[in-house]
């Protein structure tokens, strides 16, 4: 049963990485794990074909991203309600920079977060990001530039707010 062993090795090697990427995308670890598990479940039933792909992880990532997108739209209203209750308490051991980046990412539109996660988080070249999102490379480049600019603005605003809070 070499095929089964292949799948298990692939699953063990990619699971953590994909959950990390999808968590940054969705902002929720639970949603990310659910999307990634569902994507792997679908991959398991197609493994005979997927194992011959150059990068089966790209297939699983695309499915997980799509599932996360669907879930995210549903959850957006709940998140808006939660946001009104205030920011979540900082988790111990996480730097202020990290929390600021996470807060900044949460304020970005979803399609900006997608390109940032794939380009910086998954370390994919622009061409592969375009392939993954089925977008022209020019669109990916412009989204990346806009996403960086928007994130910069949010980080600056966050810094000012923290400054005011201290002062």
């Amino acid at each position: 049963m070499r095929s089964d062993g292949d799948f298990e090795a692939f699953y063990q090697a990619s699971y953590h990485r994909l959950v990390g990427q999808v968590t940054v995308l969705t902002g929720s670890n639970e949603d990310a794990e659910d999307a990634v598990q569902e994507a792997f479940a679908r991959a398991s039933t197609r493994w005979a074909r997927l194992r011959d792909y150059d990068a089966p992880e790209a297939w699983v990532r695309r499915v997980a991203f799509n599932l996360a997108t669907s879930g995210l739209r549903r959850a957006r209203r709940q998140l808006a309600a939660l946001a009104r209750l205030g920011a979540p308490a900082a988790e111990p051991g996480r730097s202020t920079d990290r929390l600021a980046i996470e807060a900044g990412l949460r304020r970005l539109p979803f399609h900006y977060r997608q390109v940032l996660v794939l380009y910086y988080g998954a370390d994919l070249p622009v061409e592969q990001v375009a392939q993954q999102l089925r977008l022209p490379t020019g669109t990916v480049k412009s989204r990346l530039a806009r996403a960086r600019a928007a994130l910069g603005v949010h980080l600056e605003e966050g810094q000012k707010e923290r400054g005011h809070a201290r002062g």
Binding site: F7, E8, Y11, Q12, Y15, H16, R17, V19, G20, Q21, T23, V24, N29, A32, E33, V36, Q37, E38, F40, A41, R42, A43, S44, T45, W59, R62, V63, N66, T69, S70, G71, L72, R73, R74, R94, D97, R98, I101, E102, P109, F110, H111, L116, V117, Y120, G121, A122, D123, R134, R148, L151, G152, L155
Partner: protein, 237 residues
């Protein structure tokens, strides 16, 4: 923030979340996949049954000099699409349209693909005109999506037939003008096929058709309740 700094922070963020992930045993993942496949298989049986029931052909006269009567058939709509699909569609259009109304229309399984179909009405961010779009998404071999949009004001223009994934086994669908009662699919050398045009929703000034897989279709006619042609694709120049 400098680009290399952003790169480092994003990579650390991903790694941080990756470390916290708790993968379930691989057997549980496989089991989840098997259960999903079983659910889809039962859906496929329903689809095949529905298409088979709808494919009761009304044969035309055999005389070659007369136009063959269309095969009257029913659209395949055995399963309602998931509510998540509406959210997915809304997400795809949120940088193009505002004031959106999304209606999920149908879904099914064909040619190894799960397909879902929806219609969207909204105001274009670019032209500020009302637009009506039809969007499909397939999961399976192709795992893709596609859409076509029209200005609502150009109601008399008929949409071309679309088939998600391009597979021969996929149904055909498209938007038709508001007064359309039936859509006739014309095939050279074979009997035409007719399907009813259906309502999308109260705010939509268009209707749509959904036909079972029909190979060889080259053109379409939109017919009103009296059987008069009100639009055709390809349009007459």
């Amino acid at each position: 923030m400098r680009e290399d700094e952003l790169q480092r922070q994003m990579a650390e963020l991903v790694a941080d979340h990756a470390d916290r992930a708790m993968p379930p045993p691989v057997a549980a993942i496989r089991n989840r996949g098997r259960l999903r496949r079983a659910r889809l298989a039962s859906g496929a049986v329903l689809l095949i049954a529905a298409v088979a029931v709808g494919l009761v052909a009304v044969q035309g006269p055999l005389d070659r000099r007369t136009t063959p009567a269309p095969v009257v058939t029913q659209p395949p709509r055995p399963i309602q699409p998931s509510s998540g699909f509406a959210d997915y569609v809304r997400g795809r259009f949120d940088d193009m349209l505002v004031d959106m109304t999304v209606v999920t229309l149908a879904s099914g399984k064909a040619g190894g693909e799960d397909w879902q179909l929806a219609a969207v009405r909204g105001t274009s961010l670019r032209s500020h005109k009302a637009r009506v779009c039809m969007m499909h998404k397939t999961d399976g071999r192709s795992h893709g999506y596609g859409y076509s949009c029209r200005d609502e004001a150009s109601n008399r223009v008929m949409d071309r037939m679309t088939s998600g994934g391009g597979a021969k086994e996929m149904p055909l669908w498209g938007l038709v003008p508001e007064g359309t009662a039936r859509v006739r699919l014309l095939r050279p050398g074979a009997s035409p096929v007719e399907v009813p045009a259906m309502e999308i929703g109260p705010r939509f000034r268009r209707r749509y058709y959904l036909a079972p897989p029909t190979p060889g279709v080259r053109s379409l006619l939109a017919l009103d309740a009296q059987g008069h042609e009100i639009a055709r694709f390809p349009p007459v120049p």
